[in-house]
């Protein structure tokens, strides 16, 4: 909790605050998390959020595996992560408390629904004694126990609903109370409730609003009345904003990219956490000409996308790690035939099924080397939820310009996390003009554009350009060739072509000075954590800079020069050191890996500590 000024009469003003809502999966924690987000966004905070779903669909109520949580950081300054540890925790039952208490900042606000601390619930959460009754919480936190059930029912005494249904509204009580503590208006949420249920279920809308207000008034009227906080508007660029998650941004980026390239978008996927929502998202854009197919498996998914690319559509397929394994052979075929294809991997914890609902960035080396033979293809990664939009367009640019499959890496944290996004004007993106071969001219399958070494597609339906492609080695004219030197030539040129991509990318942006003691080199979803850490250390005057790579294969050409400027190069990754392997092998630089593999984003603190160590050595 970064306290800025404390002498306000009513509110303590904070630069940023981290709040976590936790409860049973049935308690509606995601819903109120989303509402808090909307209100804060509407108010003008910068923010970042991260939902933490349970691994089970609906584990039995009250159990540890059934706990669902939502974390949000709001700020009057730039916010890049949902925060390390919450300043305030709402725990709707003992299981939620058991799972999340250890993360709460000491002295933080702890709101508990005392009604849920029954013997049975305590047992399921593994408590031997009731923490509301023993000493364990006293003094360590600003503890606020509320019998939320009771107040919820009371506030709805005049409404015709079963008690069970009434209690379903209790999450809004907690939300109302938090709005009071953090001085938020109820307006945005009331609007939401009305637009969602007002017409279809007016009773429910009414009830939820009543309970929301009851929570707010509870703060205002009860004896517990206490400190309130205020996080001012952030000074952000003027513009029209929306809230966006990584997978939503990706969906929109794909649609925009396809539109800019004037290709029909065909997406083919197979459900898998956390990639399913891309297929689901795109399926809702049929009116935009998008074809979104659910295939029988990941192999079929990529095959269908590749077939579509061959027929002149823009084929895209997406999955997560285990599905990437299955796509390997087809990626090889796409490489050999040099067809454009965008392959999305929304990474999650492994190996094998691993931790399907936790984040990790451990599929980088698979992306680069995960198929037989020398079959390099471009690999890029998004670094924030909204950046998935930009990176999707970049993936399409590379796929079409270089006539190549490309792997786009995101991760569960980006996919599900959300942040406000200043919506760009779609007109500001250039058209991508990658024409098909010209009818009436002789066509040679693998003759190349000398500039970028790309071949030109001719598509079925074009008169006179009939030709055959396939996985056997070919010569320039497209005929099967077992000739030794042809194979070497083709191998080299395929590799050269991929290297060429580096010539088309902007110079690497350095956050901070161009020279100094420590350079942190990150990629993907750790952008928020690394940048937050580096910014605040810079503000404290330390000689640290960072770069965050979008292009992982080929790596930018300017890296060796950048590295020269620093004494130490730190490579923080949520894996066992994969970018680290690439940097060392390509640049022979003695990088220092920093690896955490816990299924969670880096905590800014952990990183800061590590960099301090390096500075002291």
């Amino acid at each position: 909790m970064d306290t800025q000024s404390t002498h306000a009469e009513e509110f303590q003003e904070l630069e940023s605050v981290v709040i976590r809502f936790a409860g049973d999966s049935g308690d509606g924690m995601q819903t109120i998390g989303e509402r808090f987000t909307d209100s804060s966004a509407a108010f003008g905070n910068d923010l970042a959020t991260f939902p933490d779903f349970p691994a089970e669909i609906r584990a039995p109520a009250g159990t540890i595996p059934g706990v669902s949580a939502f974390q949000i950081q709001i700020g009057s300054r730039e916010i890049l992560t949902p925060g390390d540890r919450p300043d305030a925790l709402v725990a709707m039952n003992p299981a939620a408390l058991a799972v999340h208490l250890s993360e709460l900042e000491e002295g933080g606000i702890l709101v508990l629904n005392s009604a849920a601390f029954s013997h049975e619930n305590l047992r399921m959460a593994g408590y031997d004694s009731n923490p509301l009754e023993d000493e364990s919480l006293i003094g360590k936190y600003e503890l606020i126990q509320v019998d939320i059930n009771h107040f919820t029912l009371e506030s709805l005494s005049e409404i015709e609903m079963s008690n069970k249904d009434k209690l379903r509204c209790k999450n809004f009580f907690a939300l109302g109370f938090m709005y009071w503590i953090y001085s938020r208006s109820l307006e945005t949420t009331i609007e939401f409730i009305e637009s969602k249920w007002g017409k279809k279920l007016p009773v429910l809308a009414d009830a939820n609003i009543k309970v929301l207000k009851a929570g707010y008034f509870f703060g205002e009227t009860t004896e517990t009345s206490r400190n309130r906080y205020m996080v001012a508007k952030a000074e952000v660029e003027a513009g029209k904003y929306r809230k966006i998650s990584g997978n939503d941004a990706l969906v929109l980026g794909l649609i925009t990219g396809a539109e800019k390239a004037k290709r029909n978008l065909l997406y083919s996927g197979y459900p898998i956490t956390p990639a399913s929502s891309i297929l689901e998202g795109l399926a809702a854009y049929k009116h935009f000409g998008v074809k979104a197919l659910q295939a029988e498996d990941e192999i079929a998914a990529i095959g269908i996308a590749l077939g579509a690319s061959f027929a002149g559509n823009l084929g895209v397929t997406g999955t997560s790690g285990p599905g990437m394994c299955l796509k390997a052979e087809f990626i090889g075929l796409a490489t050999a035939t040099e067809l454009p294809l965008v392959i999305l991997n929304i990474q999650r914890g492994g190996p094998s099924t691993g931790l399907p609902t936790k984040t990790e960035q451990s599929d980088l080396l698979q992306a680069i080397y995960g198929r037989h033979s020398d079959a390099q293809i471009p690999v890029i990664a998004a670094n924030s939820p909204s950046d998935c939009f930009e990176t999707a367009i970049e993936a399409i640019r590379i796929a079409l310009t270089y006539c190549t499959p490309i792997i786009f890496l995101s991760d569960l944290y980006l996919a599900n996390g959300a942040e406000p996004w200043k919506v760009p004007s779609v007109d500001s993106y250039p058209q991508m003009d990658v024409p098909f071969a010209e009818e009436g001219k002789p066509y040679s399958t693998f003759s190349r554009n000398p500039e970028n070494l790309s071949r030109t597609l001719a598509i079925p339906g074009q008169t006179g350009l009939e030709h055959r492609i396939g996985g056997l080695e070919k010569d320039e004219s497209g005929n099967v060739s077992y000739d030794p030197s042809n194979h070497e030539d083709m191998t080299l040129i395929r590799s050269e072509k991929i290297k060429k991509v580096a010539e088309s990318i902007p110079p690497t942006e350095i956050f901070g000075e161009k020279t100094g003691k420590v350079l942190a080199v990150g990629w993907g979803g750790t952008f928020g954590s690394i940048t937050s850490c580096i910014r605040s250390m810079q503000a404290e005057g330390f000689s640290v800079s960072s770069i965050h790579l979008r292009h992982l294969n080929p790596l930018p050409n300017d890296l060796p020069k950048i590295f020269e400027g620093f004494e130490k190069i730190l490579v923080p990754e949520l894996n066992m050191g994969q970018l680290n392997v690439l940097l060392r092998s390509q640049f022979l630089v003695d990088t220092i890996p920093f690896n955490i593999v816990q299924g969670q984003p880096f905590k800014v603190k952990e990183l800061t500590k590590k960099i301090h160590e390096l500075l002291q050595d």
Binding site: L266, A300, A311, G471, V480
Partner: protein
């Protein structure tokens, strides 16, 4: 896609021949199949550039290299996925898919099954030589029990797949069978397959001279074919035999072979072939009729109507485009349902 030039230029077989040397073993049944398709297509009034031939891996799957159309020789077992992608991307194209008994029924069985049940409008030719040709002679999923190959020196023990029953299990809308020794029959079946709106599954008995020579000889050999092949024609009686002296009739609900002599088929209760029965019983019956207990039926075994996958996807897109939601601009959808301004 120049449909207008069609009238002007009549296609011939030559248009479908590539300059590339055909590299199957001399005597391989694949040649006859290639020939028949090359003879058949020019008749069908589709411009050449609208044909796409897709295959997996195997001797048979080299097929696209020899067809002067658009072609894609893909990877082992996965041709149905590429074919689906091509057809859904552009339903105007006519897609032929070539596969083998190993490619289509061993590694690729699942994709094939899903393509059949989805009724993607693709024409499938399954070259059944009951062996893996390209990898030099291992047994395949259609090899009879007891087949001795390098991988089954004591004889194979897996019950073979009956391709017709397999296709029926997926409720394919067009199921046919033909033989590499009868170009005329092949051409008529291929023609019907292309004309069928929906997935067309054609099993072809094909001879591999090198690794499984004469595997179909008892069924279609010159000496045997009259007695052991039952040529099905819609609404015609099921008769066969040298000088057509035999017929198939029903005993209860199971088929049996009856001698006809000079008798009229109707008199002897001979079955009339009805490929358009929507239920699966009738096709199951045909699938079970197999040499040596029965003459093996060839021709169109089943042909029923169902909407196709590709056309329905397009209809859904067309409908959605006509809806109110479609009035949104790209910028609108990027803004999404809820924005705020700072």
């Amino acid at each position: 896609m120049s449909t207008e030039t069609l009238e002007e230029k009549k296609l011939t077989k030559k248009d479908f021949v590539t300059p590339n040397d055909v590299r199957w073993c001399p005597g391989c049944g694949d040649y006859a199949i290639l020939n028949s398709l090359q003879r058949c297509l020019p008749e069908l009034g589709v411009p050449k550039e609208n044909y796409v031939v897709v295959s997996g891996i195997g001797c048979s799957s080299r097929f696209p290299y020899y067809m002067n159309t658009y072609g894609f020789h893909t990877i082992h077992g996965r041709a149905p996925t590429i074919a689906t992608g091509v057809k859904v991307a552009n339903p105007e194209l006519i897609v032929w898919m070539i596969t083998g008994d190993g490619d289509g029924l061993s590694i690729g069985g699942n994709h094939l099954m899903h393509m059949l049940r989805r009724n993607v409008d693709v024409n499938i030719l399954l070259f059944n030589n009951r062996v893996y040709g390209l990898t030099k002679g291992q047994y395949s999923p259609t090899s009879p029990v007891g087949t001795r190959t390098k991988t089954t020196p004591s004889g194979s023990i897996d019950n073979p797949i009956n391709p017709i029953l397999f296709a029926l299990g997926a409720e394919a809308t067009f199921i046919a069978r033909t033989v590499d020794t009868n170009p005329k029959h092949m051409i008529s079946v291929f023609k019907a397959a292309q004309e069928h709106k929906g997935v067309s599954f054609v099993e072809i008995f094909q001879n591999c001279v090198i690794f499984n020579n004469k595997t179909w000889e008892p069924v279609y050999g010159r000496q045997n074919r009259d007695d052991n092949l039952l040529i099905l024609e819609a609404d015609q009686p099921m008769v066969f035999g040298k000088e057509e002296k035999m017929g198939i009739s029903l005993n209860g609900s199971t088929p049996e072979v009856v001698k006809l002599g000079d008798a009229d088929p109707v008199e002897k209760n001979v079955l009339f072939h009805k490929p358009d029965q929507t239920g699966s019983l009738y096709t199951a019956m045909l699938a079970e009729m197999e040499y040596p207990n029965f003459p093996t039926p060839v021709g169109i075994l089943r042909q029923v109507d169902k909407p196709t996958y590709d056309s329905q996807i397009h209809e859904q897109v067309v409908e959605a485009k006509a809806s109110d939601a479609a009035k949104a601009s790209l910028q609108d959808i990027v803004y999404g349902p809820s924005t705020w301004t700072i």
